[in-house]
């Protein structure tokens, strides 16, 4: 048998994974499972081994789980060299080396970039550093915020009502804390799920005692003489006294370290093909650099070849598995990452799940259950096909709608279902905000074009 370059790679190659979180760990495990026997290096800027993030905005804030105890389970020993607490600072594509913050250069034959995202900080740096002002992304963030909530603040202000912001508000109410949520858009979750569902989410907030203020911006945070936050100034001219502020304005992709490397990396993530191979700046696919997880943006055939960037747990796992497989495969054995976006959230006692890309939808129809009872399945339509679905306490039906999306099934659905109610007989506008007006970011970014740049847009976003 011919000893190919791929055989050599599998036997004694050097693979470097930058990003030691969910996607990085899963990719490393899959590589070992597939028999990769060479050297494996995992680089992570946090000093912890990979941990799970979903509990950080849920059980941890309720004091039901310790932020230090959310380590991701290991499926096998990956026998890797761990470079934790050291950020990657540069990439030399020609020399095939990754530069680290400690000055070292790590050579690779194959590189997987899974550097993920970080919380978008409060734009005013001095205000963001006030005592009592938090973001929520890392384990330290979770532990710190949990401590602050346990101390019984008089009022918590959450800035931004996306999924994380809403979950934080929910945890505050469950702890009996007074909480104000300030959202620039018309309601919670509107970026991801549109105004119709946003209105349902707004009811949830208010019925659970959240002081929800929409269409409003926080213009400044004010500290006391000890450097502790004491108040926030709002765009309607009012001032809100609060002693904990959580900035929950979405995420930024960790791509700055690639500036000047020649890789197609920018604020929207790293462009790659459906097989997770990164593009360089000229739009040419690389053959030794792969991307997975939140930092990747890859084209998806089901969604008009839009480049999707997904901040979804399941996507990180699935994409890492595909990337790892492809890194160790001949070109004919590679497979595409065509995962149907799916995520879940838990807030105010309601289980929310979604599949597909609701934010592409222009219409919505309640196919099962009732909006008034807040127990329903709603389907999103785009140009006569099913493009997404969301359930509130109705998750067991979601698998069916996922298949409808995969099959490009017609919208509105031409059939009846169990639990179809009078208000689910016909579609209504899904009411997504104009994408050129910034709101709280959705968890799926359609990044194939700039939403504000109509010249190259071949796809007309929801309702516009």
């Amino acid at each position: 048998m011919v000893d190919t370059a791929l055989d050599q790679l599998r036997r004694s190659g050097r693979i470097v994974v930058v990003g030691a979180s969910l996607a990085g760990l899963r990719a490393a495990e899959v590589m070992r499972q597939k028999g990769f026997a060479g050297s494996l290096t995992l680089v992570g800027d946090e000093r912890h081994e990979p941990y799970d993030r979903p509990p950080l905005s849920k059980q941890v804030l309720l004091g039901k789980a310790d932020a230090d105890h959310t380590l991701l389970p290991r499926r096998l020993d990956i026998d890797a060299e761990w470079r934790l607490g050291v950020a990657a600072t540069g990439l030399d594509m020609a020399a095939r080396t990754v530069k680290l913050a400690d000055g070292e250069e790590v050579p690779y034959d194959r590189l997987l970039i899974a550097t993920g995202v970080r919380a978008r900080p409060w734009p005013n740096e001095a205000e963001g550093e006030l005592d009592g002002v938090f973001t929520l992304r890392t384990r330290e963030d979770g532990a710190g915020l949990a401590r602050a909530l346990a101390a019984g603040p008089r009022r918590v202000l959450v800035i931004g009502a996306g999924f994380t912001g809403s979950e934080i508000a929910s945890a505050c109410r469950e702890r009996g804390l007074d909480v104000t949520v300030a959202e620039r858009g018309d309601g919670p979750l509107v970026g991801a799920l549109g105004g119709v569902i946003g209105a349902v989410a707004a009811e949830l907030h208010r019925e659970n005692g959240v002081d929800l203020r929409t269409g409003i911006m926080v213009t400044g945070l004010e500290g006391d003489s000890t450097g502790r936050v004491r108040a926030a100034h709002l765009s309607d001219g009012t001032t809100l006294e609060c002693d904990v502020v959580v900035v929950s304005l979405g995420a930024q992709r960790n791509t700055e370290w690639l500036t000047g490397s020649g890789l197609g990396a920018g604020p929207r993530g790293i462009a790659c093909d459906a097989g997770c191979r990164a593009f360089d700046l000229r739009g040419i696919v690389t053959d030794d650099i792969y991307v997975a997880g939140d930092v990747a943006r890859s084209p998806h055939a089901l969604f008009g070849y839009q480049f999707l960037s997904l901040e979804h747990w399941g996507n990180a796992v699935a994409q890492a598995e595909t990337a790892a497989h492809n890194m160790l495969s001949e070109s004919t054995d590679r497979r595409p990452h065509l995962w149907v976006p799916a995520f879940w959230s838990s807030q105010f006692g309601v289980n929310i799940k979604s599949v597909g890309v609701p934010s592409m939808g222009s219409e919505i129809m309640f196919t099962q259950g009732s909006r008034a009872e807040r127990r329903f399945t709603a389907v999103y339509g785009y140009q006569g096909r099913v493009i997404g679905a969301v359930t509130f306490d109705n998750g067991r039906w979601l698998q069916f709608y996922e298949k409808q999306i995969e099959a490009c099934a017609p919208f509105p659905p031409p059939f009846t279902t169990v639990d179809r109610r009078p208000d689910g007989q016909r579609p209504i506008p899904a009411d997504f905000p104009d994408p050129s007006v910034p709101t709280h970011g959705p968890t799926i970014t359609l990044s194939g074009y700039s939403p504000a740049d109509r010249r190259i847009a071949t796809f007309t976003p929801a309702g516009h």
Partner: protein, 412 residues
């Protein structure tokens, strides 16, 4: 060949090993012989249909011409008690199941099942202590039946000493699920109806007592009611209680008996379980795949014409989903006919899936895990005296009627 295969599956002589017939059936993934039900036998089709909102579990949506031998049982039921949530669609299903779940599981009663662990262990130990003559034990009568019955009585608050009474009704009602081709439908319908009536009256008496003097048991908690939903009506409560009482033990008996039978046929696994009690958890999952106590779901009907595997199934047809066949589908599981508790990929259909997935699953799993672990640990050199054992008539709730075993002694 395919013609007549349904009657072969239902025939008692196939009871000990229906799996070759299922294999035959899977060659026609959507089987319909012109008059009978549409029979679905492959894993992925069943899995999809269990999540398909176009399918109803409510017998009232069956067309009169559906040709379902089980449909008559459904009508008899209506005249006695309203259908239980097993035979209802949302929103009624969801409301009743939710209310029933409050005293049983998370989020309102997160520790209920786990809190029963000690009590379960005591019952298991007591039954094993009293097995008596170790040269000829009937594991069904002496262990696999009394164990879940005692447990469901404790859980619901039904007096254990009433077992001889409700045993007869439960038997008749379980048999009504069986498409027994020999039975006279009118006679069977009458017996089913009478049993439901009598069981209903019996439970109504108990519930009346609990309303006056509520305890910690589930009947009391359901009768008193709490939470944002309104309480169940008395008739709903009776249907639900009857469902829990019957489904709460008829299936677990088979799970435990099938389990011990499978272990005795796989002595290496039995030996491993003795050494490694933690194996009980994956072992019970594999058992639910390999020998599921509910072999098929006979009560589904499409609300509209639907297409499955290229076949159009008309609205109102009777559909049978053969869970036990899907569980042995080689397109889904490697070596499906091999019993392998170390299997990594084990998303079986043994407890159903979707909104009607087994309500009592957490309890059934725990009961089977404890029962099999203790039997493996305490029975010295156990062996089968009869293989295959005699089976119960029922093709749906399939399991041995007796399981005669011998052993050299009982360990402490």
């Amino acid at each position: 060949m395919a013609h007549g295969i349904l009657s072969q599956i239902l025939d008692y002589s196939s009871r000990a090993n229906p799996y070759p017939l299922y294999e035959e059936l899977r060659k026609t993934p959507v089987f319909h012989d012109g008059t009978g039900p549409y029979v679905i036998s492959t894993y992925y089709d069943i899995q999809s249909l269990l999540h398909d909102p176009r399918l109803s579990s409510d017998a009232r949506n069956l067309a009169a011409t559906a040709g379902d031998p089980l449909a008559e049982g459904g009508e008899a039921e209506e005249t006695a008690l309203p259908p239980s949530f097993l035979k209802l669609d949302p929103p009624e299903h969801d409301r009743l199941r939710r209310m029933t779940n409050r005293p049983f599981g998370p989020p309102h009663s997160p520790h209920r099942v786990d809190g029963m662990r000690g009590g379960l262990k005591d019952i298991v130990s007591g039954l094993i202590d009293n097995l008596g003559n170790t040269e000829d034990i009937d594991l069904v009568d002496q262990f696999a039946y009394p164990f879940p019955v005692t447990m469901i009585c404790q859980l619901l608050g039904v007096p254990r000493e009433d077992e001889p009474k409700f045993h007869v009704w439960a038997d008749t009602l379980a048999a009504s699920l069986d498409p027994d081709p020999d039975a006279d439908p009118a006679e069977r319908q009458r017996k089913t109806h009478d049993s439901r009536m009598e069981l209903g009256m019996y439970l109504a008496g108990l519930i009346e007592q609990r309303r006056k003097d509520p305890g910690e048991d589930m009947l009391s908690q359901l009768a008193v009611g709490h939470g944002p939903d309104e309480s169940m009506s008395t008739m709903e409560l009776l249907s639900t209680a009857a469902l829990l009482l019957i489904a709460g033990h008829e299936t677990t008996v088979n799970l435990i008996t099938n389990g011990m039978l499978t272990l005795l046929r796989n002595p290496d696994v039995l030996a491993n379980l003795r050494q490694e009690p933690g194996l009980a958890v994956p072992l019970v999952e594999e058992l639910l795949r390999f020998e599921p106590p509910v072999q098929l779901l006979p009560q589904r009907t499409p609300l509209v014409d639907i297409e499955v595997g290229g076949v159009t199934i008309p609205k109102g047809s009777s559909m049978w989903l053969i869970l036990a066949s899907g569980n042995r589908d080689p397109n889904r599981f490697e070596n499906p006919d091999r019993f392998d508790p170390y299997r990594k990929d084990i998303q079986h259909l043994g407890l159903g899936s979707g909104i009607h997935s087994c309500f009592g699953a957490p309890l059934a799993r725990l009961e089977a895990q404890l029962a099999l672990t203790e039997l493996a640990r305490r029975l010295e050199n156990p062996r089968l005296l009869e293989d295959p054992p005699p089976y119960r008539q029922n093709a749906v709730l399939r399991g041995p009627r007796h399981l005669r075993i011998a052993c050299d002694g009982i360990r402490a």
